[in-house]
């Protein structure tokens, strides 16, 4: 007997787990990558144009590759990192690797918009590059970075639907297996409704956080 309640709860939990963990990983690794992109560019505080070009191309390469291909291509790496190629954990690796370059580019834009005058003021007061990153770049760009992170999380929720390909489950997978492949419109519609609630919650909380930060500025 098919237990609808359990099936939905499991799917929600799988999605939250996949998006939550890959989101956290994306945040932790995407920000350093964004900082690397911003500080090594021409005129940046760690200007290294060659390195900047290499990293930039790499980021573009990952961003150009369709997620479903990345999912399969990264299987060997996934096995090394999490010891398995199926299930939720197997999906987290490609999800993160796809989301990091995306988020890094979004965060890069916010970091690049920090007034160069502020960096100059910090240099004039004797700040070193670490200080500038910590006290100027990150705090000043934070609202933009958080706005970008909200977008990244929403994109992750979308990509996680494809994680069914490695048996990771989740809401998207439920919609594909029952709603699409078995023509079960009820499942399809209810999953989409759940996804709308999830995406809206993420977007609204993100917006609220950004508004709160901006209000203090």
């Amino acid at each position: 007997m098919f237990d609808w309640g359990t099936e939905y709860l499991q799917a929600i939990w799988d999605t939250v787990l996949m998006v939550g963990i890959s989101g956290a990983v994306t945040f932790l690794l995407g920000i350093p990558l964004a900082l690397l992109l911003v500080t090594t560019m021409a005129g940046g505080i760690f200007e290294r144009r060659g390195l900047n070009r290499v990293i930039g191309s790499l980021v573009n390469g990952f961003r150009s590759t369709p997620f479903i291909i990345l999912l399969v291509a990264l299987l060997p790496l996934t096995r090394v990192l999490v010891g398995t190629t199926i299930g939720v954990w197997a999906a987290i690796v490609p999800l993160s690797i796809a989301a990091i370059p995306f988020f890094a580019r979004v965060a890069e834009v916010s970091l690049r918009e920090v007034d160069p005058g502020l960096i100059e003021a910090a240099q004039a007061m004797g700040a070193q590059r670490g200080h500038i990153i910590r006290h100027v770049l990150l705090p000043e760009a934070l609202p933009g970075i958080l706005g970008g992170f909200t977008i990244t999380i929403v994109a992750l929720i979308g990509s996680s639907a494809m994680a069914g390909a490695v048996g990771a489950g989740g809401l998207g997978d439920l919609a594909i297996r029952y709603g699409y492949q078995r023509f079960d419109t009820t499942v399809m519609v209810s999953v989409i409704a759940l996804l709308i609630v999830l995406v809206s919650t993420v977007q609204l909380s993100g917006d609220w956080l950004v508004r709160r930060l901006l209000a203090k500025m």
Partner: protein
């Protein structure tokens, strides 16, 4: 007025040479009294807009405790020059000495120490929007690893000094322009610097606020005895607070000296052009009526007045003695009227012009070949020349 030939515009130095001997000539300060010295500094670079900019062989000495102004049109290179002092810019040639030490070869650790000795204030304030007023002022100390207790004392005292104690927890966005600049000044002073660099610190402010900020800078110099180097494109700022000024034009220092000297007797076209907004011209109704010659298109029987322009450059530190001047001129003419005056003290030296219309005695005589002036006019010019630094005949009405 412009159609008057130079021969008619006759200036005299008669009677002034004796007084000049006593005028103090500003010498170059002794090396240990120097705060900043540019020695043969050049810099080539291209700015953001692609136009090639450069500094050519800049030599300047800035004495300790001075307020030194660098003025120039936009693109003249003043911003770059200022940034050489705390090495936000590096020269391609020459030396920049701060307290006697060339800053060009400093290691990054030495650079940090140097920059703590030099505060900087910016045109657009450059305050961190994610931090409160208090945190902005505290940041330089926090970065330097100063103990919390000390930071608190210092920041509170400085906010008091700039009159912003009640705004300590506000974000900078809630402040007015003048208040933001006060925060910027407090932040620049937090390390007790020897030198304060002001990059167009008042250019984004309205005249009233500009005045208040300049007064604050003067007060700070008086209290803390630091050297202030400021760049501006407004001569009014230089006049209001500077001791000395350098005029920068296309990357070169074209004129430098004490402010009253440069204002009283500008030598370079760039200086004159920068001074133009401050120069009070002869009123239109007079300049339109001026004639180049005494005869003019009028019957010989009508009275003629000569218009004399008495210039005061401030070379004489005493106040112009108007009573004596009028007595002397009065002995030569029945009627003297003041038609225009613009005199004001700069650094305590009276400067500007006094334009008088003087009735000419009827016996005109022959004009001198050298000066183009008739004897009565020459006598008036000579008499006025005993009081003013320069006397010019503007024309006749």
């Amino acid at each position: 007025m412009s159609n008057l030939s130079e021969a008619q515009a006759w200036a005299t130095d008669v009677g002034r040479s004796a007084r000049h001997a006593s005028v103090h000539v500003a010498g170059v300060p002794a090396p240990d009294q120097l705060s900043v010295a540019f020695e043969g500094v050049s810099k080539q670079f291209s700015s953001g807009d692609g136009a090639p900019r450069a500094l050519h062989d800049v030599n300047l000495s800035i004495a300790r405790g001075q307020i030194f102004g660098i003025i120039g049109r936009s693109g003249a290179g003043k911003s770059t020059l200022l940034r050489l002092v705390n090495r936000l810019e590096t020269p391609t040639a020459g030396a920049v000495r701060v307290n006697g030490r060339d800053v060009v070869g400093l290691s990054s650790a030495e650079l940090v120490l140097l920059r703590r000795r030099i505060g900087m204030v910016f045109q657009h304030f450059n305050l961190l929007s994610a931090k409160t007023v208090w945190e902005n002022v505290a940041l330089p100390l926090k970065i330097a690893g100063v103990p919390k207790q000390q930071i608190h004392e210092k920041v509170d005292a400085l906010l008091e000094l700039v009159g912003l104690s009640d705004k300590r927890d506000s974000p900078p966005s809630r402040l007015s322009g003048g208040q933001k600049q006060r925060v910027g000044i407090a932040r620049a002073l937090v390390h007790d610097p020897d030198i304060l660099l002001c990059d167009e610190a008042t250019s984004a402010l309205d005249p009233e606020t500009t005045h208040a900020i300049l007064a604050l800078l003067k007060d700070i110099r008086r209290r803390l005895g630091l050297t202030i180097i400021l760049i501006t494109h407004e001569m009014a700022v230089i006049r209001e607070i500077c001791d000395s000024v350098a005029v920068l034009e296309a990357g070169q220092v074209v004129e430098t000296g004490e402010v009253w000297r440069v204002f009283g007797d500008p030598r370079h076209e760039a200086t004159r052009s920068l001074l133009r907004p401050l120069v009070h011209d002869l009123p239109e109704e007079w300049s339109a009526r001026l004639h180049a010659s005494e005869l003019g298109p009028r019957p010989r029987s009508e009275p003629v007045e000569v218009v004399l322009d008495l210039r005061f450059t401030g070379a004489d530190e005493s106040q112009p003695e108007l009573g004596l001047l009028l007595n002397r001129l009065g002995a030569l003419s029945q009627k003297i009227s003041l038609i225009h005056s613009a005199l004001e003290p700069i650094q305590g030296r009276m400067q500007g012009r006094l334009v008088l219309a003087v009735d000419l005695p009827r016996s005109l005589g022959l004009a001198s070949v050298d000066t183009g002036l008739t004897p009565p006019v020459a006598a008036l010019v000579a008499a006025a020349g005993k009081f003013a630094d320069k006397v010019e005949v503007l024309g006749y009405v």
